[in-house]
Symmetry: C2
Subunit: 503 residues, 2 copies
């Protein structure tokens, strides 16, 4: 039995000394074959500077494993080793996968309801700010964060990055020479997020650039993608986000290149982490039906269209930017907290997943959405409450009651999972309600959820109003459904009703 | 010079005795040719019961007119008369027409900003209720009302109508025998609305019926349309609404029949009053591009799509039902007043016109949207305020700043007319703003409009934030426009900024 052990879905790492002369990043290739019983998995290795080469592997099966390296470089060829994979420890649920077509779960089967936030450039801020970000994240209910490998140049983001991502040679970045410290730091933070139970949705490319990262050559782009695949893929909490707003770079990175990025990940990420790509303009979505896309990422404020997006692409929908809470001049970043909370509820109650961002102006330009730090807003608390509400009942994923183009589900949002139905009224304030409630009476627990005040209070069944006869056009119009009972509600916005069937 | 005078756009009426035996409604036809100088206008007449036949004519040209009747019925043939048309009196602006492609104006050129409400069956309620409705309307800012010729059978509308619209013979309605009292009463109320400055948007057909009106034969339908055209068209405040929710009747009244209704109006309404038709399902719009449709009527809660509807049909858009303020179980009738006010502002700031309805539950089922009476809500006051704000500046009609799919106008709503720009933020709460404000400095009056609290307060110009350089994707992305100045705003929802250029 091998001496070294690693737990399932954790990282096995091996390092090798090899050539440091020339440019190993360009010139030296090596990979390894990992074997368990009859299984063989090809795992690319990567150069980590100063003559050190590394292999990282995330085992998904318990038991004994061996590996053997392959390279044209003799020092990196034929290296072997073995290790034993133990059961995962508590809190290690493995990577997140698509489950039930429109939903997610960890590899161990635990449902994953995506509650993401965005701090595009948090790993490029001073270290003490990064500590604050992690402290804040530990207090929130977010379980995913969007973050860029490259730093950000944008309003409120004019400071220099903590690290250059590539070496600066004679005052110019050399995109053939990674700054290994920068990648080391980035993956350290991926690991710290993992330890907080947070998925790292790693954005590869974005247009908000003054350093030239955005204008690397095609070859440099491909090498970058392969490099971070080899380097980061063994982190179980990793998601691949090919771009923030890829369409704003389509002038220099054509569609074929984006397709190829996906293909490189298919080749070099043996674990097939979740992969998606995010648009800028609402009408410039990538074709998420392509086979290498695991889920749909979009930005779109029209959250009542969530089912349309599900139907269009047939995959889970994450609306990363249903606009952000804040008060800045940029029109995507000045929603009231009530409205962002509302959009989260609508999205989740229509079978999708929404993303958070916060952009309150700050005297030192410390805005959460890019730099992290601390939160100043109000929506994040309600989002944590929503997560808690849904996680109490989730089994397969909340599916919209729908159909979304028929009464009342074109106006009201509601979803079911197992024996639990939740109906979210939002801007609607009926004082009595039946639709979506059970058609056969039984033992039900009924609760009123105040999504803003974060309270849950019991509701009583009352007699359902009688159906008014429809004497004309019966086929054409949905009648008031026969519900076994009704609930009475206070007349105010931002309420939901939860109905649980008790055994 | 003729002894009889009538003012321009008022009603000239002449009555004739004719046969009362048999069924004159079916058997007797007559019309007249009205002449002024070289003009000849054919005007259909109508039977008004008890041997009385009437001709109604709305003259649109001042001066001397004559007419001569034509009929196969000798008593109604060759009758002549003359009258003189005088200038319109104050408050008489003539009928409303389409102007500037997406807008309306009275015939005298005064802009008409449509601020409609809905009381489907108000003329079918007890007379004292009808008086209340008129008293209420006199206090509001509504200048259009949707109302049905036929009574309504629907939840909260189970009472009997004031009049049968057709005679009841042996316990059964005979749709070949109009109840002339019913039509007389209806047109009296059209006239009273006219005297309040309110357009009567007369709904011909609707599916909410228990009396059989909805199931008249094709021939009876056509005769009904021709009859009310002959009878009502001379009212200058008349609009033709072919249906409320025509698609819920498409099983018995196919599309060809709806087209034919429009054609009958084209033939029998010599003044070409505004004509439209209103859908039930959001995806069942009539093809408003058809030449006989003057403007687009829809019901749709997604008011940020207003420009899409303008572009689709190329005509003024009236969204009669962006959902209603209220608290009833029906999902279209339980918006908060804040939300309905918000949807009005968005619609108007995107170049459309919204419609009001109010459906608060009431112990005696007296809901404004169907029965009229009194208003219980809050939105109507804010809608009157919006009308007042826009009428202060309207010249050609408020056109969206747009384009609606580009930053920031896909998220923020704003419109211009003449030298006035209004930007409505709604659910957005920026503390500083530039977009849509003038690019060249000058003498501007700047105001903050609180659309809910109905206040207007002056704003100061402040220095515009500097543009952050866009270093990549410049073609693809709208940059922050160079505005000459900015305004600072309080951080709260439901605000608008008005900018007027002063000479």
């Amino acid at each position: 039995m091998p001496a070294q052990t690693v737990e399932k879905w954790d990282i096995f790492e091996a390092a090798f000394e090899g050539p440091s002369e020339g440019n190993p990043y360009l010139d030296v290739a090596f990979d390894a074959v990992f074997r368990h019983k009859a299984r063989e998995i090809r795992v690319p290795g990567f150069y980590d500077g100063e003559g050190t080469y590394r292999l990282r592997f995330m085992p998904e099966t318990e038991g004994d494993w061996t590996f053997e390296t392959r390279s044209k470089t003799p020092a990196l060829n034929g290296k072997t080793g073995s290790f034993s994979v133990t059961a995962p420890s508590e809190g290690n649920h493995g990577p997140v996968r698509v489950r039930n077509k429109f939903h997610f779960a960890y590899a161990d089967g635990k449902p994953f309801l995506s509650f993401g936030t965005t701090c595009y450039a948090w790993t490029h801020q001073p270290l003490e700010e990064q500590e604050k970000t992690l402290e804040t994240l530990a207090k929130t209910g977010f379980n995913k964060i969007r973050m860029g490998v490259f730093p950000k140049d944008y309003p409120y983001n004019t400071n220099e990055a903590l690290h250059d991502v590539y070496e600066v040679v004679n005052g110019k970045r050399d995109f053939d020479k990674p700054n290994y410290d920068s990648f080391r730091h980035f993956e350290t933070q991926i690991g710290r997020l993992r330890d907080l139970g947070i998925e790292a949705d790693v954005i590869m490319f974005h247009p908000y650039d003054r350093w030239g990262y955005c204008d690397m050559s095609e070859e440099q782009d491909y090498r970058f993608v392969a490099y971070i695949a080899a380097r980061f893929a063994a982190y179980r909490n990793l998601w691949w986000a090919l771009a923030n707003e890829y369409d704003f770079m389509i002038d220099t990175k054509p569609m074929e290149r984006w397709d190829r990025f996906f293909q490189i990940l298919e080749e070099d990420d043996p674990y097939r982490h979740l992969k998606s790509i995010h648009n800028g303009h609402a009408d410039a979505n990538y074709d998420h039906r392509k086979p290498w896309v695991s889920h749909t990422c979009i930005q779109n404020p029209n959250v009542k269209n969530t089912q349309v997006w599900r139907n269009t692409w047939g995959k889970p929908v994450i609306n990363d930017e249903p606009e952000y809470e804040g008060d800045i001049i940029q029109c995507w970043g000045n929603l009231t907290p009530e409205e962002l909370t509302h959009r989260f509820w609508i999205t989740m109650m229509r079978g999708g997943y929404a993303g958070h961002g916060e952009t309150y102006s700050h005297p030192d330009d410390l805005l959460w959405w890019a730099k992290g730090g601390v939160l100043h807003g109000e929506a994040w608390k309600r989002i944590a409450f929503l997560r808690q509400v849904l996680e109490e009942d989730v089994q397969n994923g909340f599916e919209p009651i729908g159909p979304e183009n028929l009464w009342p589900w074109h106006r009201i949002s509601g979803a079911k999972d197992g024996d639990t139905t939740i109906i979210y009224f939002g801007e609607h304030q009926p004082v009595i309600w039946t639709l979506g409630l059970p058609k056969v009476d039984g033992n039900y627990q009924l609760d009123l959820i105040d999504v803003w005040n974060m309270t849950i209070t019991p509701l009583e069944k009352v007699k359902a109003p009688e159906n008014h006869p429809i004497r004309h056009g019966e086929i054409m119009r949905p009648r008031e459904p026969d519900a076994a009972f009704a609930v009475e509600l206070p007349r105010r916005p931002y309420l939901a009703v939860r109905c649980r069937k008790l055994s």
